[in-house]
Symmetry: D3
Subunit: 208 residues, 6 copies
């Protein structure tokens, strides 16, 4: 019944755990994840600007902080569904969209509904800001799976997540950012001591 309801619902995202059901040494909530994504995105945007690209910072700000708000309705379920089938994935997307629409129409005051429909739509839209969001989102999946492997989480799902995220990161259409990730950051990642060996997995993906 107003922005108060929207602000209160942000708190709900602190209780939505990423990758629910799976054993993890450390859990992450969607609110904290969104913050880390907005940090990564700001860094890569800085790199792209230095490489001569133009960045719309307002758009990047909007995209990163809002990109997972829809999880307030049905939680963090996309990854396992994605591994399951494209039809199911599409259905889930429709459910989320439907619930978001209902939420905006019911809770957001009339004169802000336009702004909210705009900010809450899918952010990964092929613009440079959309690409920065996607790269930052994948980087968090990369770091979350890396941390589990580092501490000895033998669940094969995390090695898979690490591999998928790494592959995606290396193929993003953001030349300067990808080069920085590959040539500088990945060196530091591989220099860390880990319980489960990630050097091998990393090299395999790099060679493909």
């Amino acid at each position: 019944m107003g922005i108060h309801t929207f602000f209160t619902s942000l708190n709900d995202l602190e209780r939505i755990i990423r990758a629910p059901g799976r054993f993890k040494f450390e859990e992450h909530n969607v609110a904290a994840h969104s913050w880390k994504v907005s940090q990564y995105a700001m860094f890569f945007a800085t790199i792209e600007e230095r490489a001569g690209k133009e960045v719309n910072w307002k758009s990047l700000y909007e995209k990163t902080i809002n990109h997972d708000f829809a999880e307030v309705f049905i939680g963090d379920i996309k990854t396992p569904v994605k591994h399951s089938s494209p039809e199911l994935k599409e259905m889930i997307a429709k459910v989320e969209e439907g619930m978001m629409e209902k939420f905006i129409l019911r809770e957001i005051p009339d004169d802000f509904q336009g702004v909210f429909f705009d900010r809450m739509k899918e952010g990964k839209d092929g613009t440079i800001e959309g690409n920065l969001l996607e790269m930052a989102d994948k980087l968090d999946q990369f770091y979350e799976s890396f941390a589990e492997l580092k501490r000895g989480n033998a669940d094969p799902e995390f090695a898979k997540m690490y591999r998928i995220a790494l592959k995606k990161l290396l193929s993003m259409p953001l030349q300067a950012s990808v080069a920085y990730f590959r040539d500088t950051m990945l060196e530091d990642v591989m220099a860390e001591e880990t319980v489960i060996d990630i050097k091998d997995i990393t090299r395999q993906v790099l060679q493909q």
Copy 2:
């Protein structure tokens, strides 16, 4: 790749929290919920037997312990969706069904697939065992919301859950069980000291 995978996935349900995202003084996982439902159902089945009904205990056992297994795929999201729209609810049901089918075909050995398709199908089917499952499932929703109200959880969603569960319990087609719940158990419930007053809500529902 076998029953080992199925048995391991049971552990995942210990990490699926009921009513995720919502603030609760006490969290409940789906595994523990399933156990409580199988306890309630056994008690009401005893009452129905004494009242002359015939109970298929094997079926009741199967229905109660398996009724929420599908939440291993997409978590506990039905309640908020139900409050949202019937189309979304149906879509979610299809997603769950699709994932369950994939799971059985991929993980369960050939000679057990028939048994699993049978046990994992919707249990609330209008039989007496299906009704006992539904009554027991609602009773756990009743108890979960009661416990939150008792401790002072002022989130209006829990008063709503309490009211909906109570109404449903009173209207179940299990005469002896409903009478026992209404005339004996509800008296004890209303005698408890609670931070948020539930006597009023209870009486309102009873009078309807």
Copy 3:
């Protein structure tokens, strides 16, 4: 003062942690454990039926869901005591029995006391259902210790628990179930990647 008190006490078992005091990467409560045991038992009962044995499903249902209810009184302390001395073990059993009796006489309505005395008595009684309960209970100990070893829990108690559970499982008087566990499930268990090597321990026990 009635079934309401009994139903409320089920919630208490969600707060009783198995193997308390010991460091574990993942904790399990007695309610969730009881549910997993009822799942394992149903599967092995299916195998025994196919092998020609007759199973009393009502009895199996009762035994599995009630087998650890007495832990509501003094918690989960049997394992360390068992490793300590038979006299202490027996004393603890008497304490539990005494508290259960008091509970039934004080809380359960007169006309249900007979049923409760029957359902709450020791379930591991040499019948096929008692054996299925014991096998399922051991399997959960097997899985709990396996999961700790897999994630790198170097506490020697878990290697010991794994070994004891495995030995017991292989010696249960349920030929078809034991064969299935040994020849099919154990293969899948040993194929998993683990931080602490369990293949060696497993082979040692198999050779004895």
Copy 4:
């Protein structure tokens, strides 16, 4: 040793709990708090823009997501210190500053140090973006204390926090935002059912 170290340190802020030591029904970490602040700030910036003010969105983005990064070094200790003495508060600020400087010089690559010194400096600087940050930061303190009072947290510190935050919010030099907060949001806040009465406190502060 590079941006990898900085990105890893973001994860540390998920483990820094706000208002540590104090009993709370719900804990909040600094990462999630930073995200909520960036959400509130975006909303009020939209209101200010509509009221004719010019907003530098890049600056607002930088200020909000970085404003509590320094807590990675010494945790969330400012509030109790503030209530204690201005000299201590200043000393703490110097300690944080010193540690931040050391961190940037040691961990951030040379060509990014300028950017980081700029982004990590105190954000509440009297600009409109600085004011939006301050208002958003106070609003989160307002919501955190409100939620505790609503659920019955009788620790007088939370009533105090609520009062201080409310007073500060009403006095911010952001006319349109303050009007929206006072005339629209506060109505919704006061309409909520709460265990500890907040209407009285709110009215007292409004009348001053």
Copy 5:
């Protein structure tokens, strides 16, 4: 196998939760409880010394820090048993004693066994130090139940615990300490705002 095993077992007491199974807004472990007891006891010992009594500080130190070590074996189960029957209580005491003896003989080096048998025996022995231990132990029960009532825990067990602890505190044979507790501390306790009213309960007990 030596003091290393004893020192490691202290860590186990950080995982033993007091009053397990019961819902609490805040849990307390036995290690932290032991520390609080040693703090309370030091304060009351100071009062007794000022009142002219002689205190053996070494004995008090030994008694307070060791008084619940035996819970490492069977957890914190005495209170519900006490409410149940004296025979069961005695049996539990014997089990604990038996396990303590086994532990000392097996783990403690020969030349320290005498010291450990002495330090680990029942501390509440009628000496002034034993009385100070008992008063401090009761005070922690008083504070634990007070904190639950203050926050709205409607479980009648906590009101009962509060009443029993208060009665015991007022009747301890430590005149100066009891006077200080009754005339000074209790005033401050009753001045606190609480969700569940404790003034009434307190006055009732005081009048008896």
Copy 6:
């Protein structure tokens, strides 16, 4: 406002986590840590007495249980600061001292202020009791880092903490205690199975 406030503040230390921000498989609070330190100190004091030293048990008791009370004000932040710079470390010490003074003057009754100023001052003062406190405090750091390494915590900070604590322990001016630690306890520590090898680190430190 009296001793009641002081006693209540002890509870706050159960919510102050040691080494906050850092990932740990097991968290420890300051209250439980203080108890373990008072246990270790009592053991080493016994060894020193047997070796002919005189121990003031009252002083040792006071020093161990109070040594980290000041963390109630600003939490457990010394270790990272220590690694950072001596000036910052000194500043933090002054902040703590200032807050402690304010606390005693405001909360402790006049006739107990002297006792509290005495008990709360820095305990590591070069006396034998001060040395016992320091050794016990380091031993807990040793055990906390050991437990993390044992379970596979690959964060290099814990290997560093282990090395620093070990070096300090071996150099304490308590001959008999150090000899016992080095010749007896360290043997048992090194005999444990661990995920991350600690034998190497231990031998390196011993050879220096």
